[in-house]
C-alpha cells in the first residue's frame, strides 16, 4: 500500500513516515501541495495525507487539483489538521477531502483512520 504524505513540517513528515513504514506502508513525501501534485504524476497511491497550511500550494488547493483530474476521483485524501475550527476542516471537505486526522496523532489511530478510507 502506498501513501503520499504532504506536509511542510519535516517533523510531521518524519513521524508519519516512521509510523506508516512501521505499519508496512510504502511512503512518499512531499513538502507542499505543488510537490505533492508532482509526486503524483505517473504514480499510483492508495491514500494521500495532507496538511492544510503549506507554502506554495496549500492543502485546499492541492485537494482541489487532485480531484480536478478525473483519474483521482476515488483516491482517499486525509486532511492533517490542528485546526479546531470546523470551517477549516469543512473547507478541506468541500474541496474533496475524504476524512481528517487531528494532530498530534496517535500512531494506532492514524492507522485505523487510514483503514477507514482505504480498501
Amino acid at each position: 500500500m502506498r501513501v503520499l504524505t504532504v506536509d511542510d513540517s519535516p517533523t510531521i513528515l518524519s513521524m508519519l513516515n516512521h509510523v506508516l513504514k512501521e505499519a508496512g506502508f510504502e511512503v512518499v513525501q512531499a513538502e507542499d501541495g505543488q510537490k505533492g501534485l508532482d509526486a503524483m504524476k505517473g504514480e499510483e497511491f492508495d491514500v494521500v495525507i495532507t496538511d492544510i497550511n503549506m507554502p506554495v500550494m496549500d492543502g485546499i488547493e492541492f485537494i482541489k487539483n487532485v480531484r480536478a483530474s478525473g483519474a483521482k476521483k476515488n483516491l482517499p485524501i486525509l486532511i492533517l489538521t490542528t485546526e479546531s475550527s470546523p470551517e477549516k476542516r469543512n473547507l478541506g471537505r468541500e474541496a474533496g477531502g475524504t476524512g481528517w486526522i487531528v494532530k498530534p496523532f496517535d500512531p494506532e489511530k492514524l492507522i485505523s483512520v487510514i483503514h477507514r478510507v482505504v480498501h
Binding site: S9, P10, G24, V28, P76, G96, T98, V117, H119
Partner: protein, 742 residues
C-alpha cells in the same frame, strides 16, 4: 525510544529554521512590508512550531505558540490590525518562542510566569477567553454528532441522543439490544472518495454486522447518472459495548454527505424489525462505485466514438459483487495493513524531495573530488605539443575530463554551500538585546544574506560576527544624546553585508558611530606594551590594534564586549579558515570591519615553489607579484633588517631558506622574490629558490600525525605523490625577527 529522540532532533532543527524564518519575515514586516505573503508565512511558521510541540507534549511551548498563532491568524484575517505595538510584541515573542524551544530541547524548566505578560497581551488582542481550553490538543478524533440539518428529508439522529449523555455512553445490555443503522449516501460522499464498503467494514469491526442493500429507484437507462445514488443500506449491529458514539465515529467523515439513522432496538420487543434479506434486491443492487467506474469508461469510449456498452449488464454483474460484499462483511475482517508489495511497484522509485546525509560522507566526496581535480590538472599539464599532435583523441578526452571534473567539483561544493542568512538571521535578536542593554537606539541592516558559502566556513562565522557586532554596538554606535550633539540621527545603524568577490566572500560589519579613537588606542597599546614606546604607527596600523589579544578601548569595561576578549578571537577564528580581517575607521563617521573568506576550504589555488630540497606552496590569494632577485631593489633598514623597496614601500624580507633552515646552493640573484600580502594590506617579501608553477591543492593536516610547525599552514600532496608544505604567510610575518634576520 530512540526514534522519538530522532524525531525530536528533527523537530528542533526545524524549529531553528522556523525561528529564522519568523525573524526574517518580521524584520520585513517591521520595515513596512505588510503583504499577505509575509503574514501567511509567519502564521505558518508558528503553526508548524506548535504542531511539532504538540506532538511531543511540550505544553508550555504549545500554549504560547497557540496564542501567538491565534493572534497572527486574526492579523491575517484583518480582525486585528498590524500596529507597531503588535509587531513589537511579535518580535519580542519570537525570542520567547526561541527560549521555550531551547528549554524544551535542553529539558529545562522555565519559570511558570515566563512569557505570561506576552501571553496575556495575545489574549487581549485576539479577544480570546482566558478560560478557553485548547481542545485540539487534548482530544483526538472527536466524534462529531451527526446532524443532517441541510437535508430536508430530515433523517433523524438517534432518538436517544437528545435525552442526554447517560444513555449514549451506556453500552447495550447483552442480547437485549442491537443497533439498526440506515444509511443512504449522497452524491457528495462519492465525490470525496468515501466508500460505503469501507464504512461497513469499519462498522463490522465494532460487532457482528448484517448489511442489507436496498435499491432506491433505478432510473431509466437514459437518465442513469454514473455518480447517482440508487442504493441505500441498512445495517444491523449486534455486539457488546457498542455505543452510539462509536457508530457515529464510523460515519464521522461522511457527516453531511449521507442520510444516517441510528436506532437502538430492543431485540425481544420487536422481532419484526429483523430485516429480511431480499435476495432479489441484493442481486439487483449495484456497488455504486464500481458502476460509476465502469460507466465512466463508457463515457470515455462514447467520446471516442465507440459503441457504449450496456450498463445494465454491468449492474447485474456487479450485483453479485455486492452479495459477495455482504457475505464478506459478516465476519469482521481483521484490519491490518497490506504489507505485500509487488516488485514492480518497488521498482517505481518514488520521487524523493530531499535526503539527509551525514556531513562526513559529503566531506569524503569533497575530498576525493579535490584529489580528482588535482590529478586531472596534472594530466593536463603534462600534455605537451608533441603529445597533442600525436594523440588528438586522447587530448580531447582529457579536455572533456577536465570540464566534467570542474562541473563535478562545483556540484559537490554546491551541496555544502549555504546562504549566510543562517548566521545573519541570528543577529537581529543580538542587536535588539545590545540596544536595550546599552540604552542605544540601533537599527540593523542586512545586505546579501543569500550569498552562499561553504557550510564549514559558515559554522566558523557565527562567533566572529557576533563579536564584531557587539563591538560595533558597544564601542561604535554612540548613545542617542551624543549622536544628537554630533548632528547625527539618534538612531545608529549597524550594517552587515555579504558578497562574493572573485574567489572570496567579503563580509562586512559597518557602523555609523564615532569611529576608533586612535589617540586612546595608541595610548593604551603603549601602556600595555603592545606597542613599543618609540614605535611609530600609521592610522591603519593603529586601527588594526583593536584585534590585538587582550585589547579593549572601552573606558569602563562593559558586560557586553568584556575585557577585550573577543576581537582577537575574531582574528584567530578567521585565520583558521584561511580568511583575513581588516578594519577601516573614520573618526566621527564610523567603523567598517571586513572579513575576507575563502569560498571553500577544500581546494586551494597555490603557487608551487622550491626552497632547498623541499617543495612549498604559497596560497595564490596572498601573492601580489613575483620578481627575480637580481631585479629586486633590496636595502637595509636602520635596524639592520633587510627590506625590499617596491613602489615606494619598504617591505620586510624573509629568506625562506634561512627561515626554514634549508640549504640552498643557488646564487642569490637567480632566486625569486614572492611578494605577499598579509592582514591589513601589510606586505612581506619571501625569497624562494625556484617558482615551479600554479596548481590547485587539497589541504592536509600536519597535526593529524605530527604537530604544528611555525610558518607552515599544513601540507598537501602533489601530483607526483610527494608532500609539499603550505607556507603560512601571516604566521611568518608574525614570528619574531631573529629567525629571519639571522
Amino acid at each position: 525510544m530512540s526514534d522519538l529522540d530522532e524525531f525530536k532532533a528533527t523537530y528542533f532543527e526545524e524549529c531553528s529554521e522556523l525561528l529564522l524564518e519568523l525573524e526574517e519575515q518580521f524584520t520585513a514586516i517591521e520595515e513596512g512590508d505588510h503583504s499577505a505573503d509575509r503574514q501567511n508565512a509567519v502564521f505558518r511558521a508558528i503553526h508548524s512550531v506548535k504542531g511539532g510541540a504538540g506532538a511531543f507534549g511540550f505544553e508550555k511551548l504549545v500554549e504560547f505558540a497557540h496564542s501567538f498563532e491565534t493572534l497572527l491568524d486574526f492579523v491575517r484575517n484583518g480582525q486585528v490590525e498590524l500596529t507597531s505595538e503588535v509587531i513589537t510584541l511579535c518580535i519580542r515573542s519570537i525570542d520567547l518562542v526561541a527560549d521555550f524551544v531551547g528549554a524544551a530541547r535542553d529539558g529545562e524548566e522555565l519559570a511558570d510566569d515566563f512569557g505570561a505578560e506576552e501571553l496575556a497581551r495575545f489574549k487581549i488582542l485576539s479577544g480570546e477567553d482566558e478560560e478557553e481550553p485548547m481542545e485540539e490538543f487534548d482530544i483526538e478524533f472527536v466524534p462529531v454528532m451527526v446532524s443532517v440539518g441541510d437535508d430536508d428529508e430530515g433523517v433523524t439522529v438517534s432518538a436517544d441522543s437528545d435525552e442526554g449523555d447517560s444513555f449514549d455512553q451506556a453500552p447495550l445490555e447483552d442480547g437485549l439490544r442491537y443497533w439498526k443503522v440506515d444509511f443512504t449516501p449522497h452524491y457528495e460522499l462519492y465525490e470525496r472518495a468515501n466508500d460505503p464498503l469501507l464504512l461497513f467494514r469499519e462498522l463490522s469491526s465494532l460487532g457482528e454486522a448484517k448489511i442489507t442493500a436496498k435499491l432506491l429507484k433505478m432510473p431509466e437507462l437514459a437518465d442513469f447518472d454514473p455518480f447517482g445514488v440508487y442504493c441505500s443500506w441498512e445495517a444491523e449491529l449486534h455486539g457488546d459495548g457498542i455505543t452510539e458514539e462509536a457508530i457515529l465515529e464510523v460515519f464521522e467523515f461522511v457527516e453531511g454527505d449521507c442520510d444516517l439513522n441510528i436506532i437502538s432496538v430492543m431485540a425481544n420487543a420487536d422481532d419484526d424489525l429483523m430485516p429480511q434479506v431480499d435476495e432479489d434486491l441484493i442481486a439487483a443492487a449495484a456497488s455504486v462505485e464500481e458502476v460509476a467506474a465502469s460507466t465512466h469508461i463508457n463515457a470515455l469510449e462514447q467520446e471516442s466514438g465507440e459503441e457504449p456498452q450496456e450498463p445494465d449488464e454491468n449492474s447485474a454483474d456487479k450485483g453479485l459483487s455486492l452479495a459477495d460484499m455482504a457475505a464478506e462483511i459478516e465476519p469482521p475482517p481483521p484490519p491490518k495493513p497490506e504489507v505485500k508489495k509487488s516488485t514492480k511497484q518497488a521498482a517505481k522509485t518514488p520521487t524523493v524531495q530531499s535526503i539527509r546525509v551525514d556531513l562526513e560522507k559529503v566531506d569524503r566526496v569533497v575530498n576525493m573530488v579535490g584529489e580528482l581535480v588535482i590529478t586531472q590538472s596534472m594530466l593536463t599539464q603534462q600534455m605537451d605539443d608533441q603529445l597533442r599532435a600525436r594523440y588528438q583523441e586522447m587530448v580531447r578526452g582529457v579536455e572533456v575530463l577536465a570540464q566534467t571534473t570542474r562541473g563535478l567539483q562545483d556540484a559537490v561544493m554546491a551541496i555544502r554551500a549555504q546562504p549566510v542568512k543562517s548566521v545573519f538571521s541570528r543577529m537581529p535578536r543580538l542587536v535588539r538585546e545590545l540596544a536595550s542593554k546599552t540604552g542605544k537606539n540601533i537599527r540593523l541592516e542586512m545586505v546579501g544574506e543569500h550569498t552562499e558559502i561553504d557550510k564549514a566556513i559558515i559554522e566558523q562565522l557565527s562567533d566572529p560576527l557576533t563579536h564584531m557586532i557587539r563591538n560595533s554596538a558597544d564601542h561604535g554606535v554612540e548613545i542617542p544624546e551624543k549622536r544628537k550633539a554630533a548632528g547625527k540621527p539618534e538612531q545608529g545603524i549597524i550594517r552587515i553585508s555579504a558578497e562574493q568577490a572573485g574567489g572570496n566572500i567579503i563580509i562586512s560589519v559597518e557602523d555609523d558611530g564615532a569611529g576608533i579613537n586612535r589617540v586612546k588606542v595608541l595610548e593604551l597599546a603603549r601602556e600595555r606594551g603592545v606597542v613599543g614606546p618609540d614605535q611609530q604607527l600609521s592610522d591603519e596600523q593603529i586601527d588594526e590594534l583593536v584585534f590585538a589579544p587582550g585589547f579593549s578601548t572601552a573606558d569602563a569595561v562593559s558586560d557586553i564586549s568584556g575585557r577585550g576578549v573577543g576581537m582577537d578571537v575574531v582574528i584567530s577564528n578567521i585565520k583558521k579558515i584561511g580568511g583575513s580581517v581588516h578594519v577601516r575607521s573614520s573618526p566621527g563617521q564610523g567603523t567598517k570591519m571586513l572579513l575576507r573568506l575563502p569560498l571553500t576550504l577544500a581546494v586551494l589555488d597555490v603557487m608551487l615553489v622550491e626552497v632547498g630540497t623541499g617543495p612549498y606552496v604559497i596560497p595564490l590569494s596572498s601573492i601580489v607579484e613575483t620578481v627575480l632577485c637580481e631585479r629586486a631593489d633590496f636595502g637595509y633598514a636602520p635596524s639592520g633588517r633587510r627590506v625590499l623597496q617596491i613602489r615606494g614601500e619598504y617591505v620586510q624580507v624573509i629568506d625562506l631558506a634561512v627561515r626554514f633552515e634549508m640549504e640552498t646552493n643557488l646564487k642569490e640573484h637567480k632566486r625569486f622574490v614572492v611578494l605577499c600580502e598579509g592582514e591589513g594590506n601589510s606586505k612581506i617579501a619571501l625569497i624562494v629558490d625556484r617558482i615551479i608553477g600554479q596548481q590547485q591543492v587539497v589541504i592536509k593536516s600536519l597535526e593529524e600525525n605530527f604537530r604544528r610547525i611555525d610558518g607552515v599552514a599544513g601540507g598537501t600532496i602533489l601530483g607526483d605523490g610527494n608532500v609539499a608544505l603550505i607556507v603560512d604567510v601571516q604566521g611568518l610575518k608574525n614570528t619574531p625577527e631573529q629567525k629571519s634576520a639571522a
